[in-house]
């Protein structure tokens, strides 16, 4: 009975993308403050290598729970209405509480 979950490598790739972007933005801000001329690909300096393996797995679990919660709550509403398919209206109703919880 294997539970489906996100791929840790995918999550790590997403995280890296976000961090590199943030690093580049920070670099840009710093550069415009100091008015430095030489601006080669400075992202290399700020490329930390975070992402502990277990932290990644935990993030996968967190995202999996997010998706699972969304589906379960919407399914509950759909069932209460007596329909067999999860539609937009069901998702709408659970969205506020879902976003507050996460």
């Amino acid at each position: 009975m294997e539970e489906k979950t996100f791929d840790p490598d995918l999550i790590r790739a997403i995280f890296k993308l976000v961090w590199e972007k943030r690093g580049a933005e920070r670099e840009k801000n710093q550069l415009s403050e100091n008015e430095a001329e030489a601006g080669p690909s400075t992202t290399k300096r700020s490329r930390q290598i975070p992402a502990n393996g277990n932290a990644l797995k935990l993030s996968c679990e967190l995202l999996r729970v997010f998706v699972a919660e969304a589906i379960q709550r919407a399914a509950a509403i759909a069932e209460a209405e007596g329909s067999l398919k999860i539609e937009a209206t069901h998702l709408e109703r659970i969205l506020p509480q879902l976003l507050l919880d996460f």
Partner: protein, 136 residues
């Protein structure tokens, strides 16, 4: 300066396409998870809703990345920790409790012992059920 702007634009395009690629891969994963979940309740998901949920989760993943980076920096660390991830789930008690027990299981798994493995599957089931009783 002009070359900087150009490079900035190129980088942006690269990022966009990398982001799109990741979003598609993410969508595939989300679809399989969501369908398993829906089947568990005997429900079907309509395709546009599938895309909505996947994009929502993708945005959430990006937010999570920023949150977790900020927490680690705030703690003066260079790499992320499980604590950072658990902290980012602080808004909901059930959620952080279930994440904490999941993380304890992960820590326990390291000195590979068979006895602990049986405990894990039971705990994960309990954690999954706990999370459901969130509303009211």
């Amino acid at each position: 300066m002009a070359s900087d702007v150009e490079r900035g634009e190129e980088e942006e395009e690269e990022e966009e396409s990398a982001s799109e690629l990741l979003r598609d891969r993410f969508r595939l994963c989300t679809i399989s998870i969501a369908e398993t979940e829906a089947k568990r309740n005997g429900m079907e998901i309509s395709q546009p809703i599938m895309a909505c949920i996947s994009d929502l989760a993708f945005k959430y993943a990006k937010q999570l990345a920023r949150d977790v980076e900020l927490f680690a920096q705030h703690a003066g660390r260079k790499s992320i920790n499980m604590e950072d991830v658990i902290l980012s789930a602080h808004r909901n008690d059930h959620l952080s409790a279930s994440l904490r027990s999941f993380s304890n299981n992960l820590k326990a798994k390291e000195p590979q012992s068979d006895r602990k493995r049986k405990k894990i599957t039971k705990k994960e089931d309990k954690a999954a059920k706990e999370v459901l009783h969130i509303d009211s």
